[in-house]
């Protein structure tokens, strides 16, 4: 309501700007004087930016809002110069926790009782939840949507832009539930083809006959009930990216047809004798070891070398347990948005259980665990009883410490587990956890751990 009022009421006095009613609304509101220093800052503005009112008052607004338009295209500056309000402009800010947030801003002039312009007023709405819902609906993912602090994953992230910019075929290997489609989507979003379609096909989910027509399409009359032409996924992905998931499950006959496309970039729809040229980038994925399948003669060697131009191997979640807390936070945020709940987090005990599980289903399994916990947990924190028994059955308490009933003890158990995994090598452990070696040494000393020497 404030955003609608502002363009009509340009004579908002300083006293109204400090009205405590502004603290009760969900839109952030702040006012600035002619020197661009903040003169009022409501509660919602504190929540959205992460900066408290007492730290914001008197500071330059650009240092508080930290938006992409502050330097060179300030909306408030435009309003104060032209006298015209700006309504519902979408911009991006970085909050005090380092999170990029999309927001929508509206500006107006701030005038005193005599009608003199004394500054400006800006209201803004947090669009983060809307953006998340939009991504859910369109399934448009970016690299930033892949949550990981793991050293190996960060290495994959670093090469994604170069891989995306090339047009080479990519093969993604990883266990089920590790996020292969997310990586494929991220490659597409980073590539020059991002404005064209991203089409995904699960090759393992369809029988051969259906897969052929699904991929290549068919002409009217190609078979019974083929009453009109139907474009296949190759045609639908024209100019864009085609993601072939579970390519290891493709039959030998289909492998031949895929090989022809990769060699000559042409295919024939079912029932057609005219080759069709396609400008499509192929990203393939499999949970199987294609090298082994080639040796077993279950996968064509020539096709393997055609798709294995660039290979990405995604580590399973059990090899990067340091990502579990980040993923738990991410899924809690996601389900809070989708279900309109306000679950605040997980308890120490619940997180200990989650950290001790080995996740045969990887990230998808963790997501399912959190989704299940959301059903059982109405509010507050997810507790151990909200998790299935098999998850907590593996939680034994760690070797070096006794009862794990505090954050310090949980951290100690996790570090000992990580050190054990890397054969007590401190350097390797620090690298795997993405922390400096001195940080690891400091934590070992602070937690009173006594790991064996290598």
């Amino acid at each position: 309501m404030v955003a609608l009022m502002l363009p009509l009421m340009s004579d908002i006095s300083v006293e109204r700007a400090h009205d405590p009613i502004l603290d009760s609304i969900t839109e952030g509101v702040f006012t600035v004087d002619r020197e661009w220093r903040i003169t009022s800052f409501n509660h919602a503005a504190e929540e959205i930016t992460g900066i408290s009112r007492d730290r914001a008052i008197g500071k330059p607004c650009k240092d508080i809002l930290r938006a992409n338009i502050c330097e060179g295209d300030c909306a408030l500056a435009n309003t104060m110069e032209c006298g015209k309000p700006i309504v519902n402009r979408s911009i991006t800010i970085v909050d005090n926790r380092g999170r990029r947030k999309p927001i929508s801003i509206t500006t107006a002039l701030l005038k005193d009782a005599d009608g003199q312009t004394i500054g400006g007023v800006e209201t803004f709405r947090d669009l983060t939840k809307m953006e998340k819902l939009r991504k859910e609906i369109r399934r448009q993912y970016e690299v930033a949507d892949i949550i990981s602090r793991n050293h190996r994953m960060q290495g994959l992230f670093s090469v994604l832009p170069d891989i995306a910019n090339s047009s080479s075929t990519v093969l993604i290997e990883g266990e089920s539930g590790t996020g292969k489609e997310l990586f494929a989507g991220a490659i597409h979003q980073l590539s020059p083809r991002r404005k064209k379609p991203f089409i995904a096909v699960n090759c393992g989910a369809l029988p051969d006959t259906l897969l052929e027509s699904e991929l290549f399409g068919y002409k009217a009359g190609a078979f019974t009930d083929a009453k009109k032409d139907k474009p296949g996924r190759f045609a639908l992905a024209e100019g864009g990216t085609l993601f072939l998931d579970e390519i290891g499950d493709v039959s030998p006959a289909m492998q031949v047809r895929l090989l022809r496309f990769l060699q000559e970039r042409v295919y024939e729809p079912l029932g057609s004798v005219t080759p069709v040229h396609a400008d499509v980038r192929i990203v393939a994925a499999t949970h199987q070891n294609l090298t082994s399948l080639v040796k077993e003669k279950r996968f064509r060697e020539d096709l393997y070398y055609r798709i294995n131009i660039v290979k990405l191997e995604i580590p399973p979640l059990r090899d990067r347990l340091e990502d579990v807390p980040l993923l738990v936070d991410h899924f809690i945020d996601r389900f809070n948005t989708l279900q309109g709940k306000e679950i605040m987090g997980v308890s120490d005990d619940a997180l200990s259980c989650l950290m001790s599980h080995d996740y045969p289903g990887n990230v998808r399994e963790l997501e399912n665990l959190i989704e299940r916990a959301f059903i059982l947990c109405r509010s507050g924190h997810i507790e151990r009883e909200h998790l299935p028994d098999p998850v907590c059955a593996g939680f034994t308490g760690g070797a070096a410490v006794g009862n794990l009933d505090s954050f310090r003890q949980m951290e100690a158990s996790f570090l000992m587990s990580a050190l054990r995994q890397h054969k007590w090598n401190r350097t390797e452990t620090a690298r795997a956890l993405g922390i400096h070696k001195t940080t690891l040494f400091r934590k070992i000393k602070a937690l009173g751990l006594k790991p064996p020497r290598t």
């Binding site: 502050c70 330097e71 970085v94 380092g98 340091e322 980040l326 997980v346 507050g380 924190h381």
Partner: protein, 160 residues
């Protein structure tokens, strides 16, 4: 109040005698508010004690990974900036570049402060940040268990 005189031996200080290329996100003669949205980078070559040369390069509005790679391609060892988003900070660290955030002030003053190990002075802390913000940021970035909401024993249910 504040951190007192020059801070010696911290990671926020240049290493004497070590050639270092410093990148400073700039706008209008001052450190830019946010590295993510900065359009100019001042690249300063030093011998660890003195400035040797400087140049200004344009930064594009591009994905975080691409921006981090751009910084790497400029051979920057350390970046001084205002706020930086977590994804960009991680991407930049992955390229082996140290980021020193929450820096504010005129570019030459900030550069001299960094070269003389006085960047921890309160006058170079970005407005809106509490003293110790960089230390907490660094602790958060290096924290083993990451950033999450955990309620331990002794805390009330429904509260943090």
């Amino acid at each position: 109040m504040g951190m007192g005189g020059p801070v010696v031996g911290t990671r926020y200080a240049i290493q004497i005698g070590v050639k270092t290329t410093i990148g400073i996100a700039v706008w209008d003669g001052r450190v830019s508010t946010t590295l993510d949205f900065a359009r100019k980078l001042l690249v300063v070559d030093t011998d660890g004690t003195h400035e040797i040369s400087r140049s200004e390069v344009a930064l594009r509005d591009e994905p975080v990974r691409a921006k981090a790679k751009r910084l790497r391609d400029l051979s920057v060892h350390v970046v001084l900036c205002g706020t930086v988003s977590t994804p960009l900070a991680q991407a930049t660290a992955q390229e082996g570049i140290e980021v020193i955030p929450y820096v504010s002030g005129p570019v030459d003053g900030v550069l001299e402060a960094y070269m003389t190990r006085q960047l921890a002075e309160p006058c170079f802390l970005q407005p809106g940040c509490r003293p110790g913000a960089r230390t907490r940021w660094r602790r958060g970035a290096g924290c083993v268990l990451g950033e999450r909401r955990v309620r331990g024993r002794g805390q009330r249910k429904g509260g943090e």
